[in-house]
Amino acid sequence: MTISTHISSSIRLGARLLTGVVLYCMTMGAQAQTPVFEIEIREHLFYPSEFKIPAGQKVKLIIYNRDATPEEFESYELNREKVIVGNTQGIVFIGPLKPGEYPFFGEFNPKTAQGKVIVE
């Protein structure tokens, strides 16, 4: 109950918090605190066509278009649209979102280029 025990317990708490933050940052990758996900467009299809992201958190999505033709990454549910010129890549930030399924599609090939983000 002395001041020194208070100080040592708060130091211990601080250290624990710090370790937590460091671990969190490490798991989130070296680039930034924002988790990064990558998908590819090949032959007008998305690979992977489904991927999971954490709920309530903004994530960075990098879309590589391996086709020669442009594609528009589009989603009504994610509220996103971005043209990705052939053989380039584009970055789109998505979220934070509530848990659920959020379909996306390639506007220029809506029948084949389909996928969904699963938020959990």
């Binding site: 903004k58 442009p70 009504y76 930030f93 934070p96 979102l97 220029f108 809506p110």
Partner: protein, 276 residues
């Protein structure tokens, strides 16, 4: 082919709405349509330039050049529609008294050109890469023609509906439309800025997709007119309300900047000059 129809119609819808609304205003403002071909041409050239340099633009600003250009275009159109409202309300209150023909021409032309740049570039990109390069010319072009046709018939309908009104009512109605369309566009601009992490994003405020899906025809029409979004974020709502209030203020400024009759141009009317 059906996907070509839908793709092109979606892009055409927004531009057609603005063009036809402003054409109706233009004749109510006593302007001839001579300004239209140069404005359309400027828009098409701009669209082509945007589409051809899309790769460089996309790479600019740390990969968010596209979002920034789109947001700037949308916000500039919003400001120009605001300026349109000032002019329209001046004419509404005192017809033929304090017209600003050159300024009106500049504002109408710039708005239409910018609306075409944004939508036209995507149509060009689609038609060029899937029609010309991928060699699916017939179905892409016929689809594009049908999409454009539907868009323009809708536009003609809007134009003639507005023209059946008296000049003053046409101006009033166009201003209200411009107010709503502009607010919708600034909400779209907010989305582009959130997508590139330049404005904060949050979980959507609500979700009305069960009632009106954005992908439905009603949803698409509402999106073009009021910027309908089934799951908007707070930033969007803020921009929407902000633009709505500014546009209402513009209507007020236009209305009170002229005297109802006799006297010449009002002093406060110069606010309309800051179109860009």
């Amino acid at each position: 082919m059906t996907s070509a129809v839908i793709i092109v119609l979606r892009e055409v819808l927004e531009a057609v709405l603005i063009i036809c609304m402003l054409l109706a205003s233009s004749s109510a403002l006593g302007l001839r349509f001579r300004w239209l071909p140069p404005a359309l041409l400027a828009g098409l050239v701009g669209a082509l330039a945007y589409a051809l340099s899309l790769e460089q633009i996309s790479m600019a600003f740390e990969g968010f050049g596209q979002e920034i250009v789109n947001a700037v275009l949308l916000l500039m159109i919003t400001v120009l529609l605001l300026a349109h409202n000032i002019l329209a309300m001046r004419e509404f209150k005192a017809p033929e008294v304090s017209r600003l023909p050159m300024l009106s021409l500049a504002i109408l032309s710039a708005t239409i050109a910018m609306a075409i740049v944004r939508e036209g570039s995507e149509i060009y990109l689609y038609v060029y890469s899937y029609g010309v390069v991928a060699g699916d010319m017939a179905s892409v072009l016929s689809g594009a023609a049908i999409g454009t046709g539907i868009g323009f018939s809708l536009g003609t309908f809007i134009y003639y509906s507005l023209r059946t009104l008296s000049a003053r009512h046409c101006l009033l109605f166009s201003s209200i439309m411009a107010l709503i369309v502009g607010a919708g566009m600034s909400s779209q601009a907010a989305l582009f800025l959130a997508q590139s992490d330049l404005l904060p994003s949050s979980e959507p405020l609500w979700d009305t997709s069960a009632w009106i899906a954005e992908s439905s025809l009603t949803g698409e029409l509402l999106q073009a007119v009021i910027g309908y979004e089934s799951s908007p974020i707070a930033t969007q709502l803020g921009m929407f309300v902000g633009a709505l209030l500014l546009s209402l203020a513009a209507i007020g400024i236009g209305y009170f900047s002229v005297r109802a009759s006799s006297e010449g141009p009002g002093a406060a009317g110069t606010t309309g000059g800051r179109g860009e």
